[in-house]
Amino acid sequence: MSQRSEDRVSAFLPLPLPVFHMLLALSEGERHGYFLKREILRRTGGKLNLGSGALYGSIGRMLEQGLIEESGDRPDPHLDDQRRRYYRITALGRRVAQAEAVRLQKLVRLAEGSLGIPELA
């Protein structure tokens, strides 16, 4: 990876929590906004309940930043609400999410070294 694209990726860090969650969810496949909202709620155990406005505000910014893009493909119309828009993660988005994960990992290691983290039950 060139230095420039490295810089470009690190400019996004640290990622806001909802953005990181959305990128993680999208790395598993194309999703629509409502799914993302539900998924984040599930993954955080109900702690991160994004409002619709906040959700689409983040989506809008991620689209502008090129972290995600709108997907033209639609699943079977019978299963789908026409109003829904589907998004997929871009290569940049994937790299940014990875970089964030590495950053968090380093942070966790640092914490382990100095505090010692109790085993999760």
Binding site: G51, S52, Y56, R84
Partner: protein
């Protein structure tokens, strides 16, 4: 309960356009799904709470986000068209600045509250001097105040300059003699001490006085022992009982108030600067129109003749604020209108700029529309662009406004200096500038935005609509420019005429100095006669002095305020203005003697009474050149009064450039001794440098006599012309600016039209049209809206011309010839601009043009 989804959809409208376009339907969908899944009253309430909190956070964030994006985009587009944008910005800042500057003056004069208690209940009796005679006695005045039900209180005053003695030296101060009700009617509390008691204006009572805060500080060093102290004004002792609050100097920079309005002979006032007035405080439950009607009815009963007079001199009630604003009020309002005109022209220019952006981007817009870009989004972008431009212009315009305020303060000072200061730092002014900017940004951003709808509907580009709108904007610019240019031509003409008026005096190399003997040891006739003689001798002895004289009412110093008729021994009589002058006066002012002789030292107290008249009196009495040797007398003179023998005739002089030539009679100082005079000293070289020496020479005669208003006659003339010059410069500036904008507008329209029709022009050239022919065609097409605008402009200029008389009174209502001249001048300029812009056609090669397509 209304459909919750409908309510939510309404809330979504608060989002900015781009966000809504992208996410409105998924947001609606999600809301509908979540709402369906939420059951129970408490859960629904929590759901709403969550949704509303989300909107409250996210809407402002998205608005800000899109605003920043739109602004960045606007900055980029403006940078691409830097010259056009700079012109638009400059024209808008000047226009908004000038308009805001004038508004600051209007604000200070008409909107800001006067420094009195409940100032909107204070009413001035305009043209009071006529009615003043009716109520000149104390009992009559208070009788009238008590019986007129519309008054809660009323006061009368009489202002003039007087000598205040300070340690052997006299200073000139403004003294207002009032009725005792003055301060109570205004509702003014003293800084220290008290105002006047109700019976302190009874003639013959011991005279008390209130001193102004500024005078107390400057003349008495703020000494608290001033209360109870005795000061001498015009030779009379006054006991100071109070000090007025800081900044209070009503009326007209008064330094001392004394309750001697009904005791006129108590304080000697003999100079030219006098004004008499009255005001009242409206009774609770009445208003100005009702009070005015009652006052009129009352006057009608008392003196029906008063109403047959010129309405301008009719006694009537006006608000005190209006009276204090005086002539500056009308002038400022006219200038405000002019500023608004220029602003409109500048805004039309900005609209042109935005329009050409739309046309340039028509293909792109059509594609985006086909791809589903909403109109709202494009409109939002355009309006952001224009409002950003106008707001930036308003910010820059505040500098212009500040400068305009300072200029206005020097030529058109307000009557209450301390509280009516012209400033842009006032919330009303700032709101005005902001509103002006936003409004013009909105109006002229929306206009081109309207076209977008058509562009998107027809997918064919905004061409025809844009052409029509450009034509309309150009016509508007032209019409307003014609009005302003026609106004400038009339004003310029009137001003030049005014400045070139023959005053009958040679004002160059003349110094003037005024003295007043009131209350000094020189006041008695014998002493005064001697004083003037010594003063003249001293002045003439100053090196560099050619001649010196003195007069009581010197032209350019005072205005001819009174006059009377004198009867010639032939029986003819003519009204005129009397003046008392010394020997050497005519030589010093450069007024030439037409017949007979000047006054000499021999025309003393005991010698036969003599007079000099001017040519106008000789003409009016049909005596002509043979008038010398005839006798004149006053029709009211007692029979044993000896008539005056006319010994000479001098040229006509005017009291000011704007005044008419009037009959004048001159009497020698030694025979009619005035208690004040202005010395006129003609010197070799620049009189400015000699003023201190001349002042010292006069002071040496008697240090008790104050010497004031020491300035050159040229300086006085400049002062007289300052206001008309300012107004003329202002409108010349406005009109020149408007012309420039109209010309650039026409140039822009022409080059735009060529750019748009390059292909068509290429085809025409290819099939044999000549370049000159095409230029002619374009010229005709571009000048059509200009011509339409001119017609409208000429009509408007004719209708608006009479308002200019509020600026320079000698202005003639704009006539058709002037309007036509303005229109013609503008037409030539516009045609030249268009012709210049179409020069590109000459270099057009049809082959290249068509190949490019």
């Amino acid at each position: 309960m209304p459909d919750p989804r409908r309510f939510y959809r309404l809330l979504l409208r608060l989002y900015p356009a781009r966000f809504r376009e992208e996410f409105e339907s998924p947001l609606e969908g999600q809301f509908a799904d979540d709402y369906r899944d939420t059951a129970g009253r408490a859960a629904r309430a929590a759901f709403w709470l969550h949704a509303l909190r989300d909107l409250a956070v996210s809407i402002p964030r998205e608005l800000l986000h899109e605003l920043v994006q739109d602004l960045r985009y606007a900055a980029r587009t403006y940078r691409r068209r830097a010259l056009a944008a700079a012109l638009a910005l400059a024209s808008l800042s000047l226009a908004i600045g000038a308009t805001t500057g004038v508004f600051s003056v209007v604000n200070a004069l008409l909107l800001r509250a006067l420094p009195f208690r409940e100032p909107d209940r204070l009413v001035q009796l305009a043209n009071f001097d006529r009615f003043a005679i009716e109520v000149s006695q104390r009992s009559k005045f208070y009788g009238w105040r008590g019986q007129a039900r519309y008054w809660q209180d009323a006061a009368a005053y009489h202002s003039s300059q007087m000598n205040l003695m300070r340690g052997g030296q006299a200073v000139r101060v403004n003294v207002t003699q009032t009725s005792a009700s003055f301060f109570t009617a205004l509702g003014t509390e003293m800084q220290t001490g008290r105002g006047f008691a109700a019976d302190e204006d009874v003639p013959g009572a011991d005279v008390v006085a209130v001193i102004g805060y500024g005078a107390w500080q400057q003349l008495f060093g703020g000494d608290p022992r001033i209360l109870g102290a005795t000061i001498r004004v015009s030779g009379s002792p006054l006991t100071v009982v109070g000090v007025a609050p800081p900044g209070f100097d009503y009326p007209g920079k008064t330094a001392i108030w004394a309750p001697t309005y009904f005791d006129r002979d108590r304080l000697r006032t003999s100079n030219a600067h006098q004004s008499v007035g009255a005001f009242g405080r409206l009774a609770p439950g009445t208003n100005l129109p009702r009070a005015a009607a009652m006052y009129q009815a009352e006057l009608q009963r008392q003196d029906p003749r008063a109403f047959r007079k010129d309405p301008a001199y009719r006694p009537r009630l006006i608000s005190l604020q209006e009276q204090l604003a005086g002539s500056a009020r009308q002038a400022s309002l006219v200038l405000l209108a002019m500023g608004a005109f220029v602003l409109l022209i500048a805004c039309a220019g900005v609209a042109q700029l935005l329009l050409s952006r739309i046309t340039e981007r028509a293909p792109e817009l059509a594609i985006r529309a086909a791809l589903g870009a909403s109109r709202a989004r494009l409109v939002q972008q355009l309006i952001t662009e224009s409002v950003a431009l106008t707001l930036a212009a308003a910010a820059a315009g505040m500098v212009v406004a500040h400068w305009a305020c300072r200029l206005a303060a020097t030529v058109q000072p307000s009557s209450l200096l301390s509280t009516q200061r012209y400033t842009v730092l006032d919330w009303r002014v700032l709101v005005f500038a902001g509103a002006l900017a936003v409004l013009s940004g909105l109006v002229f951003g929306v206009l081109p935005a309207v076209l977008i709808g058509r562009t998107l509907r027809t997918h064919a580009g905004a061409s025809s609509g844009a052409v029509r709108m450009r034509g309309a904007l150009l016509a508007l610019q032209t019409a307003l420019a014609v009005v302003l240019v026609a106004g400038a031509l009339s004003m310029g003409g009137a001003f030049l005429k005014l400045a070139g008026t023959d005053l009958g005096l040679r004002t160059r190399n003349v110094a003037t100095l005024t003295v007043s003997l009131d209350g000094t040891r020189e006041e008695p006739d014998a002493q005064a006669r001697q004083y003037y003689q010594q003063a003249l001798d001293r002045l003439r002895a100053v090196p560099g002095v050619e001649s010196a004289g003195a007069a009581d009412y010197l032209p350019l110093v005072s205005t001819a305020t009174y006059g009377y008729a004198l009867v010639l021994d032939s029986g003819e009589k003519a009204g005129g203005v009397p003046m008392v002058v010394s020997t050497g006066y005519f030589a010093a002012t450069g007024t030439s003697l037409v017949a007979g002789r000047d006054f000499t030292e021999a025309d003393g107290a005991g010698s036969p009474h003599v007079a000099i008249v001017n040519e106008e009196y000789a003409r009016a009495t049909r005596a002509g050149g043979g008038i010398v040797g005839h006798k004149i007398s006053s029709p009211f003179a007692p029979p044993d009064d000896k008539p005056f023998t006319i010994v000479g005739v001098v040229r006509n002089t005017r009291f000011s450039p704007a005044s008419e030539v009037e009959s004048q009679f001159y009497f020698p100082v030694a025979q009619t001794v005035p208690s004040f005079a202005t010395f006129v000293v003609r010197v070799r070289g620049n009189p400015e440098g000699m003023l201190p020496a001349l002042r010292d020479a006069l002071r040496q005669v008697d240090t008790q006599v104050p010497v004031y208003e020491v300035m050159t006659l040229d300086g006085r003339l400049r002062e007289r012309l300052a206001r008309p010059r300012f107004y003329t410069t202002a409108i010349l500036f406005f009109s020149g600016f408007a012309t420039l904008l109209a010309i650039t507008g026409a140039y822009g329209a022409a080059s735009y039209s060529i750019a748009r029709r390059t292909h068509e022009l290429g085809v025409r050239l290819a099939v044999g049209a000549t370049a000159q022919g095409l230029r002619g065609m374009l010229l005709r097409q571009c000048t059509l809206p200009v011509a339409a605008g001119m017609l409208a402009g000429v009509a408007a200029a004719g209708a608006l011309g009479r308002f200019l008389q509020h600026l320079v009174s000698s202005v003639q209502a704009t006539n058709l010839a002037i309007c036509a001249a303005a229109a013609l001048a503008l037409a030539i300029a516009v045609a030249a601009a268009v012709w210049n812009a179409t020069g590109r056609i000459l270099r057009m090669d049809p082959a290249t043009v068509l190949r490019a397509e």
